[in-house]
């Protein structure tokens, strides 16, 4: 009750001194607007990264194993990876690693000519195990996916990604048609749904999938893998799963304890966490700048409020003489600081929100508004008000009413 009355007194004083109030809000507005925008961009980046992994893997609960210890330049293909990751490794992970539920294997290559009548293209060719789609928890758009029988019998069947389909079969139903991959005829038996962009930003739809055994023995004539996707049993234990798979592979490859891995494991959950934690240098600098803006905003509030306390000594004296206790005075001035800062925060958030909305519209970007950072920014502005209002409020409560009323 009393707090409500004090709050209305605080709001009145803020309205009375409009210029001072808006000056106090300024720093907080700038700080909060940039903070909210940055945090929102960071969160949007995180989501985008997660989405791309999800596009590639279909599930977020999987880890990726690639041959080779160092980073491969560009996308790994049969041409540029060492022949160290074997089919037997995949089988062993599937049967021996307790943290792993299922394993899909991949052999892929680029720059292979694909022809249909007079049309030609060179999409990525992926030999995949029949459980590849199952791992994604998806279904084909049309036709059927590669089956275990087809894989066992080295059938020449192919499933097309939407890009290939659009490029080679405009206005035509590809199902049942025969395409030639490196001059080997394949029958189109299924069509994939669109997957969008992968972690590197490239389209995942310019692909042709064929059974991995067909790929290994009829097309590429290689007996090693370019990639292995291992679905983890418990999404919260992806780190343990990673460690377990690494230990198993080191043992199978007889790697000495001091030697480096001859494979690379990507744990999407960990990667996303890293992206979120670190951010880019630019983000960090900008976050620093907005933190400084907030700090300046807070200091401005503190100094202007302190000056106001000196100017309003008489008011404080009058309030004390009609029954205000020291805590009442503290409360009133603290509320003023919090209101100012909160108003600045809300204005800043509104500006930031509007700014993001404007940029995404002008640049025609996908919407990246995330509400949580904005809510956090409001809380931050409240804390700024509380922190920097404390000293002036304390100072106000220490004004001697006798002195103040005499002056």
């Amino acid at each position: 009750m009393k707090t409500r009355k004090l709050a209305s007194q605080s709001l009145r004083s803020l309205r009375r001194y409009r210029l001072r109030t808006s000056l106090m809000m300024l720093g907080v507005i700038v700080g909060i607007a940039s903070l909210a925008v940055l945090a929102s961009l960071g969160e949007a980046t995180r989501r985008e990264t997660m989405q791309r992994f999800k596009n590639m893997l279909g599930t977020f609960d999987a880890i990726i194993v690639r041959p080779g210890g160092g980073r491969t330049r560009g996308m790994p293909t049969l041409v540029n990876v060492p022949p160290t990751l074997r089919f037997e490794d995949a089988a062993a992970i599937g049967s021996e690693a307790s943290e792993i539920k299922a394993v899909a294997v991949v052999q892929n290559a680029f720059d292979i000519d694909v022809k249909y009548r007079d049309r030609a293209a060179s999409p990525a060719i992926f030999g995949v195990s029949p459980n590849w789609l199952e791992l994604r928890g998806e279904d084909v758009a049309n036709g059927s996916f590669l089956t275990a029988d087809e894989n066992a019998s080295l059938a020449r069947v192919a499933v097309l990604g939407p890009d290939v389909r659009n490029q080679m079969f405009p206005g035509e139903d590809p199902l049942g048609k025969t395409i030639r991959i490196a001059d080997v005829p394949f029958e189109v038996t299924g069509l994939l749904k669109s997957r969008g962009a992968g972690p590197a930003g490239a389209s995942l739809d310019n692909v042709i999938l064929i059974p991995i055994n067909t790929a290994a023995r009829r097309l590429f004539n290689r007996d090693y893998l370019t990639m292995l996707i291992a679905q983890v049993r418990d999404p919260d234990r992806s780190n343990q799963a990673t460690a377990q798979v690494a230990a198993l592979l080191r043992q199978r490859h007889r790697i000495q304890p001091t030697a480096l891995d001859d494979f690379t494991i990507t744990n999407p959950a960990a990667t996303v966490a890293q992206v979120t934690r670190a951010g880019t240098t630019l983000t960090r600098i900008l976050t620093g700048v907005s933190a400084i803006a907030l700090l300046i905003g807070g200091v401005v509030i503190m100094s202007l409020m302190s000056i106001a306390v000196s100017e309003r000594r008489k008011e404080i004296g009058v309030r004390r003489s009609v029954g205000a206790r020291q805590p009442d005075v503290i409360q009133q001035f603290l509320l003023e600081a919090v209101f100012v800062s909160l108003a600045g925060g809300i204005t800043g958030v509104t500006l930031g929100w509007g700014g993001i909305e404007l940029v995404t519209r002008i640049e025609n970007l996908p919407p990246i508004l995330v509400w949580k950072p904005f809510a956090a920014a409001i809380v931050v502005s409240l804390l700024v008000g509380l922190t920097f209002g404390l000293y002036p409020a304390w100072k106000a409560s220490k004004v001697d009413p006798i002195q103040a009323l005499r002056s």
Binding site: K2, K5, Q9, R16, V318, R319, R320
Partner: protein, 232 residues
């Protein structure tokens, strides 16, 4: 009603020096009295007023206000007394700037337990003849009007004691007369008023005069109050 018993106040000045602003002051004020306190500068009038107004505590002695022994009260308890039982009127009016007359009158209600009762605030303004100016900012009011708003503010909680410190000191003769008529009227309604002044004319409105000199009470005389408006 109001009882001072051997009140003294000693201020610390510097490291060793002390100033004895009040030395063993004792007197009583009965309900409905109109008392004027006079004395030269430095005689202890302001200190006495601050103690009576519960803004300051005596170094020694007993102060009973409306059956409460105030000595040893905490900041919180003193604040409650100031809110409920004291009405201050200052020489320099002390209205809040950029605040309407009505809002000024309502301020004591902010620190009381109840709600802000706009009707009662308007009634108080009406009592001092300023209901029509309720919405005016204090800067838009004349000195006399400001002091009348201050009186309305002092009246809002029906205080046991109205303390006025040179209430006409900053006013011209006409406005001063209005304010004194108002105070005399309040006295006739039965209010207890203690007024500090230098002005003989102002002092003549009171029925009792206390004279302070050098922190001591040197005389305490009752007399027939001059309630005739024309005397001022």
């Amino acid at each position: 009603m109001i009882e001072l018993e051997r009140i003294s106040k000693i201020y610390q000045r510097g490291q060793h020096g002390t100033v004895e602003a009040l030395r063993g002051i004792s007197f009583r004020i009965a309900p409905g009295e109109f008392v004027v306190v006079r004395g030269a500068s430095g005689s202890g009038k302001s200190t006495l007023l601050n103690i009576l107004g519960c803004l300051d505590s005596p170094t020694a002695g007993r102060y009973r206000l409306d059956h409460e022994d105030v000595a040893g009260y905490s900041d919180r308890q003193l604040a409650r007394l100031r809110n409920a039982k004291i009405g201050f009127i200052f020489q320099s009016f002390n209205l809040l700037p950029r605040t309407t007359a009505l809002e000024n009158v309502e301020i004591p209600m902010v620190y009381a337990d109840g709600v802000i009762d706009r009707k009662r605030a308007l009634a108080a303004l009406d009592r001092v003849g300023l209901a029509a100016r309720a919405g005016h900012f204090s800067s838009e009011l004349s000195g006399g009007e400001q002091q009348r708003v201050a009186i309305a503010r002092a009246l809002i909680h029906r205080p046991a004691l109205i303390l006025a410190d040179e209430p006409t000191g900053n006013l011209d003769a006409g406005a001063g007369r209005d304010v004194m008529n108002l105070l005399s009227g309040l006295h006739r309604e039965g209010r207890t008023i203690l007024l500090v002044t230098h002005d003989d004319n102002v002092a003549s409105c009171a029925m009792r005069e206390i004279l302070l000199c050098d922190g001591q009470l040197v005389s305490d005389q009752s007399r027939v109050a001059n309630l005739v408006d024309g005397a001022l």
